[in-house]
């Protein structure tokens, strides 16, 4: 299910995942129900009932789960910084290759 690379870069080298603001999250679980990549995990019996379990399953630049979030509790890294990081990793790989 998880992407192994994105634009030729190992997915695990790219910092792109949702961050849950627990001060805002009301554990409605809309994001977990929505995400087909199983990025989130619901923990019914825990105090923190929702965590980001599989960050590297998250599709780079996708923020669709945040569109389902009523209390606006999900945030993502800056897109420009992320694309710049991808370019740098690719350049480094080219120079080393």
């Amino acid at each position: 299910m998880s992407e192994t690379t994105f634009m030729g870069v190992e997915r695990e080298k790219i910092d792109w995942k949702p961050v849950i603001d627990y001060a805002k999250c009301n554990f409605c679980m809309e994001c977990a129900k929505f995400c087909p990549h199983r990025v989130f995990e619901i923990r019914e019996n825990e105090e923190i009932k929702l965590i980001v379990k599989n960050p590297f399953n998250c599709v780079v630049f996708c923020r669709a789960c945040s569109k389902t979030c009523g209390p606006d509790a999900l945030s993502f890294p800056d897109k420009n910084e992320t694309s710049q990081m991808i370019r740098e990793i690719r350049k480094e790989a080219e120079n080393n290759g």
Binding site: F34, C62, A64, S66, T68, G70
Partner: protein, 285 residues
């Protein structure tokens, strides 16, 4: 907002944004003669509103991204003609809503801004398809999975990103849109929010949204550029994206601003077709 609308607010008492949606609906109906659809009563007595819905386009006011009013419209098979989300309007205006259900000064200011915007919607300047000079008719390679057919256009001037969006580059302009992978996964597309005319968007930035009963998808633009046209036909007929997202279902035209740089993170038909097939197989087993 020049037509007479049937107005469906979320009316939610869970958050301040819901109370704001209710207030906007009341003011639209009281001051501008639109017709209100009560979301609570319409659940149990839909027949009361059937005539209003059949005679007027539907304007939905969601309080927050949970989109309860939109979901209700879908559930009742009401066609949405226009919509806003209060929390998004608040963000655009730099207003932070309070945590209570009270409408204070800031919330009243937001209501005023939204109402003013709605009243002036008819004055927005847009361009039509013909004015941009880009036309799209393509040959396709197809991939079938069960009953679903996934087309990808074969053309050297079409570039893709790995977020399932395409750009057809012609001179210093590009037409952008989503691929069949997106529209098949969203299923019936019910609403289209175009990017703003004149907006300058960086590569991988958001260039409009499309929405189905399943989800909202933001188009992640493959190329950087200034929005010079949007596909207005999608506002009335978002289902054109389901019919063909590469031709009549295009999203916007951009004047390119950094294409040589953007190309580094784009792929052509061969690579995208393989990636799409893998994604389809991953999602459908």
């Amino acid at each position: 907002m020049v037509e007479k609308y049937a107005v469906l607010p979320c009316n939610g008492l869970d958050k301040c944004a819901g109370v704001i949606s209710r207030e906007i609906a009341l003011r639209l109906c009281g001051e501008a003669g639109h017709e209100i659809i009560c979301p609570v009563f319409s659940r149990i007595a839909e027949v009361k509103y059937r005539k209003i819905i059949s005679e007027h386009p539907l304007f939905v006011i969601d309080g927050c991204p949970t989109r309860c009013a939109s979901k209700l419209a879908v559930e009742k098979n009401f066609k949405i003609s226009n919509k806003i989300t209060v929390t998004e309007e608040a963000k655009k205006s730099g207003i932070e809503l309070n945590d209570t259900l009270q409408l204070r000064e800031k919330e009243q200011a937001l209501i005023g801004i939204i109402l003013n915007d709605l009243m002036n919607t008819g004055n927005k300047v847009t361009q039509t398809i013909e004015e941009t000079g880009v036309s799209c008719h393509f040959d396709y390679e197809t991939f079938q999975k069960g009953k679903f057919l996934f087309r990808v256009p074969v053309n050297k001037e079409i570039f893709f990103n790995e977020n399932d969006c395409w750009a057809y580059v012609s001179g210093n302009r590009a037409r952008i849109g989503v691929t069949d992978f997106v529209q098949q996964n969203l299923s019936d597309i019910l609403f289209f929010t175009p990017p703003e005319m004149g907006a300058e968007i960086d590569q991988f930035g958001e260039a409009g949204e499309i929405e189905s009963s399943k989800s909202v998808f933001e188009l992640i633009t493959p190329v950087s550029g200034k929005v010079i046209a949007v596909n207005e036909a999608l506002i009335q007929k978002p289902e054109l994206i389901n019919e063909n997202p590469y031709e009549l279902g295009w999203i916007a035209d951009l004047e390119l601003t950094a294409f040589e740089n953007d190309k580094e993170l784009l792929i052509g038909f061969d690579k995208y077709f393989e990636i799409m097939k893998r994604k389809v197989n991953d999602l459908n087993g």
